[in-house]
Amino acid sequence: MHIPDGYLSPSTCAVMYAASAPCWWAALRRTRRKLFGRTLPLLSLFAAFSFVTMMFNLPLPGGTTGHAVGVGIAAIVLGPWASLLAISLALTIQALFFGDGGITTLGANCFNMAIAGSFAAWAIYHVVSLGAAPDARRRVVAAALAGYGAINLSALLAAIEFGIQPMLFHDAMGAPLYAPYPLRIAIPAMMAGHLTIAGAAEAVMSAGLFSYLRRNEPALVGISPLAVAGAERGARNLWGALAVVLLLTPLGILASGTAWGEWTARDFANSAARARIAAASGNHALPAAPPVGLARWANLWTAPLPDYAPHFVKSAAFGYLLSAMFGVGIILGAAWLGQRLMKLAKPRSEP
């Protein structure tokens, strides 16, 4: 994964430096304000930590061992911008001091692992853990998937950079000048190792470190009494917003006409309704009778509150409000029931 000097053409290296530079600049700008507080040592130490964890030999199922980059946990703890800086620092030290990865290819290595990897890990973690409770197992799975997805995206990008070399750079005889394998060989060859060994190492390390941090340093992974209080405040705001929207539902009766496509079979027999449908449909000629399928299936289900107005309510506005409360109640009840069922099916939430 650490591409050495000589494998990529200078123009590819220049493009990758050019692609990485705005990300480094934006990350520095975003973190600069915090950089001279606690973030300065934290960023350096996280970079150093990432460097050291890359040397851990992680035993994997099947008897082999793998190394993790640490991009998954860095993105979860630091966020994507600070993470891309920390991993870039670790890669720079590796390239400059330990000769692991080239100097001309440093832009490509940083783009693949630090930039794309950090954003992928951060996005995957937040999408998969969306709405999960602080102690939910789903968060650990999300951390594992974040590491796994990030490292595989990085490998895919490196494979593409390798694979385009023989297409673009070859001598008069057709001999490739840099990495010699085309995309159809480079991608499977690179991904085979990363979808299995390297991906597993990153997933194990991300999930393991996330579990450790959640137990011992919960604030670092966004799980703290403060975070919970924040969530409660957020929930209170949501309840307030919901109440406002409920009170505003009678505004619906101000809308004139019928929503396009929500016609009943009876509308086709009513001349005023037919005129409205034709006007809303670009004066397209309507069939004389309701379509056969519409007529057949229209009465399959009769709603308990037709047109948002129970028959015993005379006020349309009150009918709208009552229907909205009824609908919201059903959704909240279903969500509560689902949550109870999930808790019953899962006796312990913490692995």
């Binding site: 000589g6 040592p41 130490l45 393991g208 941090l213």
Partner: protein, 271 residues
């Protein structure tokens, strides 16, 4: 098995620490490259690395590699250490990657294997040789830079390439903590290894490694807080200043001219 994985990790840490000491020692030698201004050395050797990357001719790459060997000798670097640390590692890795290209690159058959229908092609052989020669020459030249320049001087020289001062401070701190955390992790593994009897299952080994990583992360954060407090106690208020003690001398101008001439010649001859 369990001891094997831990021993392998400890060996990796020891090698990294050894490499750090070796670099510091080599940078203090009184040799040709050590005597040069770090900025001249950084720009000059990087220009040669780029020239090697741009070259399309084997003889130019071999010439650049030969120049690297001469510079190493003139800088009193051990060729044996370079061979073990750089040349053999790069050769083994690149040869492994390039070997299938001998057969997979389409072209004129150079040698047909007696068994099966596989043939080494002229284009495949040329491609593999170019790759190995380019990697060897580039890695040799970049290693010369690292081995003959103290780390702090190298970082300050990066200002020549317009690297922001914050990045230089971050790199300097990161490097310091890499050494510290490597030492800490090494001690943690050694102390655990000395208390281990019997064999651990794969799952236990994974738990051990991940927990060690977690504890290391906790220690890392603790150190971070201590460092921040220490920085504040010493009067750090968010401004970073680097002492720029570099002065170009006559010999540096000669070297600058030499690097530029060789790089231009290599680019022109390598087209």
């Amino acid at each position: 098995m369990s001891a094997g994985v831990m021993a392998k990790t400890v060996r990796g840490f020891t090698q990294a620490l050894g490499q750090t000491l070796l670099s510091e020692h080599a940078a203090r030698e009184h040799g040709l490259l050590q005597a040069l201004d770090p900025r001249v050395k950084l720009v000059g050797l990087l220009a040669l690395v780029v020239a090697a990357a741009l070259s399309r001719r084997l003889n130019v790459m071999v010439a650049l590699f030969g120049l690297g060997v001469l510079l190493a000798v003139a800088s009193r670097l051990s060729l044996l250490a370079l061979a073990k640390r750089v040349w053999l590692v790069a050769l083994g890795f690149t040869a492994m990657i390039a070997a299938p290209a001998l057969f997979l690159t389409p072209g004129v058959a150079l040698y047909r294997l007696p068994v099966g229908s596989l043939a080494i092609t002229v284009q495949g052989a040329r491609s593999a040789l170019l790759l190995i020669a380019r990697v060897e020459s580039a890695v040799t030249l970049s290693t010369l830079l690292v081995l003959t320049t103290p780390w702090m001087h190298l970082l300050k020289a990066l200002r020549t390439l317009l690297v922001p001062v914050e990045v230089i401070v971050l790199l300097a701190m990161t490097h310091r903590y890499v050494v510290l955390l490597t030492e800490t992790a090494n001690q943690m593994f050694e102390s655990r290894q000395s208390r281990m009897v019997g064999r651990l299952s794969g799952q236990q080994q994974r738990r051990l490694m991940v927990n060690t990583g977690g504890v290391l992360l906790s220690k890392t954060l603790e150190i971070g807080n201590q460092v921040f407090l220490a920085m504040q106690a010493r009067g750090f208020r968010g401004e970073v200043r680097l002492l720029d003690e570099f002065r170009l001398r006559g010999w540096d101008y000669v070297a600058m001219f030499g690097f530029a001439m060789v790089a231009v010649a290599a680019v022109v001859a390598g087209r």
